[in-house]
């Protein structure tokens, strides 16, 4: 019972991007995932990639609020990593039977959902990257770093917040255009 409470607290911390929680989960699970990957044709860099992907899956799950943990965090992380690593092996035609060192739960849906989300995020990343300056920094400052218009006007050298705001909207229109073009193309491709 105590352990279950601990894990719940850990997941709540994770959902807040709390550094302590991330560190704890990292410490408790990384070595296990690294052994899995290295024992199955992978390098320590692969292990890092796969583990961090799994952490993102767990993060998204914890944030969704509907996540009921019906197994240990350790089992869940292991299962997601296993699934992700198998997928990657298949993509590179290095398929081998994975020798299991832990119990496994079914995470197929979670991993698929994660892959879809990743595609969307990468699309956003590309769209923002394709904007050029000063649009990129301007939008990042407002929408990602959540700075207010006053600060932004000052640090970008606009004469007042109103000017900065207008410029921000012009950039936003462009970003939306780029993003939705990719989005529609991306969805119709599949």
């Amino acid at each position: 019972m105590k352990q279950e409470n601990n894990e719940r607290a850990l997941l709540q911390g994770l959902a807040r991007n709390d550094r302590k929680a991330v560190e704890t989960i990292y410490k408790q699970n990384y070595n296990m995932v690294q052994s899995l990957v290295i024992n199955n044709n992978g390098s320590s860099d692969d292990a890092k990639d796969v583990f961090q992907e799994a952490m993102i899956v767990l993060y998204e799950k914890a944030r969704s609020g509907t996540f009921e943990l019906n197994c240990q965090v350790k089992t869940y992380v292991y299962s997601v990593c296993r699934r992700l690593w198998l997928k990657r092996l298949q993509q590179t035609n290095r398929f081998t039977e994975v020798g299991d060192i832990e119990a496994v739960v079914s995470v197929e849906d979670d991993v698929d959902e994660h892959t879809k989300r990743n595609v969307e995020f990468e699309m956003m990343d590309k769209a923002i990257g394709g904007l050029g300056e000063p649009c990129k920094s301007l939008l990042e400052a407002y929408y990602l770093q959540k700075k207010n218009m006053q600060e932004i006007a000052l640090s970008f050298g606009y004469t007042n917040a109103e000017n900065a705001k207008n410029q921000k909207y012009k950039c936003l229109v462009r970003l939306k255009k780029i993003f939705f073009t990719h989005y529609k193309n991306g969805n119709s491709d599949e």
Partner: protein
């Protein structure tokens, strides 16, 4: 027109989504949304988009947390990952101890400065060579020109006996108008040894000018354009600031480090000048010989100083005389009956324009100053 409407609409939609509208506005907007499917569509689409952007931001943050945690744990040996090697390790350690290093460096810096300023203040002869006056020597190939000039003169001498000796301008700087009638400010060190002064505007027109006041202590000179074809301006777009400015205020300069007007921008870095000089202030802008006497503007287009010198020992330390000394110099000048009616304005009419427009308006009032 259309563009502007789009932006206003987007602004309304975004404030609606963020719940920043007041109740009346909100009600009005909701009605609009009900009756206009296009707007409704925009709200739905924008909500989706903002969600996507937000989640993207959080995703990015989480990823960077993961990377930091990974490197930290690997470095501490708490996970079995490869430790960083070679360059990557140096970069990691640098990032990790950047703050500590920065603090240590600044303490060292402050100590060094304190000691050097102590040494400086007790040393018998302060070295003025550390400050480089930014006047420009225009003696490009002077010797060569002189010889050529001589030859030319000899030839001309035969043709025409009453040949004027041409004035060769050796010193160059920058100056700017402080009233519409041709009163100008520049540095005293630019014009102090000159008998003939000529000023050039950015269009290339040139006018004769003469010194009306020279204040060597403050390094401020007031000169006046005295030329028949100079057309007075009715007013100036910029004003002169009476009070001191604040540190970190963005500033820009216009000057003639070459035969073309050059724009530079930076910020006010200290309220005092070289070695704590209270007459001047320190700014960080690119400055070269020829910038001397040029105006330093703040973002509302007010003159806050006169660019005068840079430190030879340090990169990027440029000094400007504070603009209030323009008023002081002028007050002294007004004691002379001839000039008691000179008026300068402290109001800028270009404070709302963006920088490009400001510079466009200002550049006709900034001149290259040449003296022999």
């Amino acid at each position: 027109m259309n563009d502007k409407n789009d932006i206003m609409m987007l602004d309304a939609v975004e404030r609606y989504i963020r719940g920043e509208m007041n109740p009346d506005e909100r009600l009005y907007f909701e009605n609009l949304r009900k009756t206009n499917p296009e707007i409704d569509q925009l709200v739905v689409e924008h909500t989706l988009f903002l969600q996507q952007v937000n989640r993207f931001g959080e995703w990015q943050k989480f990823r960077s947390t993961l990377n930091e945690v990974h490197t930290d744990l690997a470095e501490q040996g708490k996970i079995n990952s490869d430790r960083l090697k070679g360059k990557a390790r140096v970069v990691y350690l640098w990032n990790k101890y950047k703050r500590v290093t920065a603090i240590a460096a600044s303490i060292a810096g402050i100590t060094a400065l304190t000691i050097s300023s102590l040494v400086w203040s007790i040393s018998p002869k302060p070295s003025t060579a550390e400050l480089e006056m930014l006047k420009r020597k225009v003696i490009v190939q002077e010797a060569k020109t002189n010889i050529m000039q001589k030859d030319l003169n000899d030839v001309k001498h035969d043709v025409n006996n009453k040949m004027d000796v041409p004035v060769i301008y050796k010193i160059g700087g920058t100056g700017f108008l402080i009233d519409g009638k041709g009163m100008m400010i520049t540095n005293a060190h630019v014009v102090k040894d000159s008998r003939n002064i000529r000023v050039f505007n950015s269009k290339g027109d040139q006018f004769n000018a003469f010194v009306v006041k020279l204040d060597m202590v403050r390094d401020v000179a007031i000169i006046k354009i005295d030329d028949d074809h100079f057309k007075p301006f009715s007013s100036l777009p910029y004003g002169i600031r009476k009070t001191s400015s604040d540190i970190a205020e963005p500033v820009f300069t216009l000057g003639f480090p070459r035969d073309e007007i050059v724009y530079g921008e930076g910020y006010l870095s200290a309220r005092t000048g070289f070695n704590g000089d209270t007459l001047s202030c320190q700014i960080a802008v690119p400055a070269n010989p020829g910038n001397s006497g040029g105006p330093v503007f703040n973002h509302s287009g007010e003159v806050i100083g006169i660019l005068s010198a840079k430190e030879t020992e340090a990169e990027g330390a440029v000094f400007a005389i504070q603009s209030k000394y323009i008023f002081k110099a002028l007050d002294e000048l007004k004691k002379n009956k001839l000039y008691e009616n000179v008026k300068i304005s402290s109001k800028s009419t270009i404070n709302t324009l963006d920088k490009v427009q400001q510079v466009k308006k200002i550049q006709d009032y900034v001149f290259m100053v040449k003296g022999d």
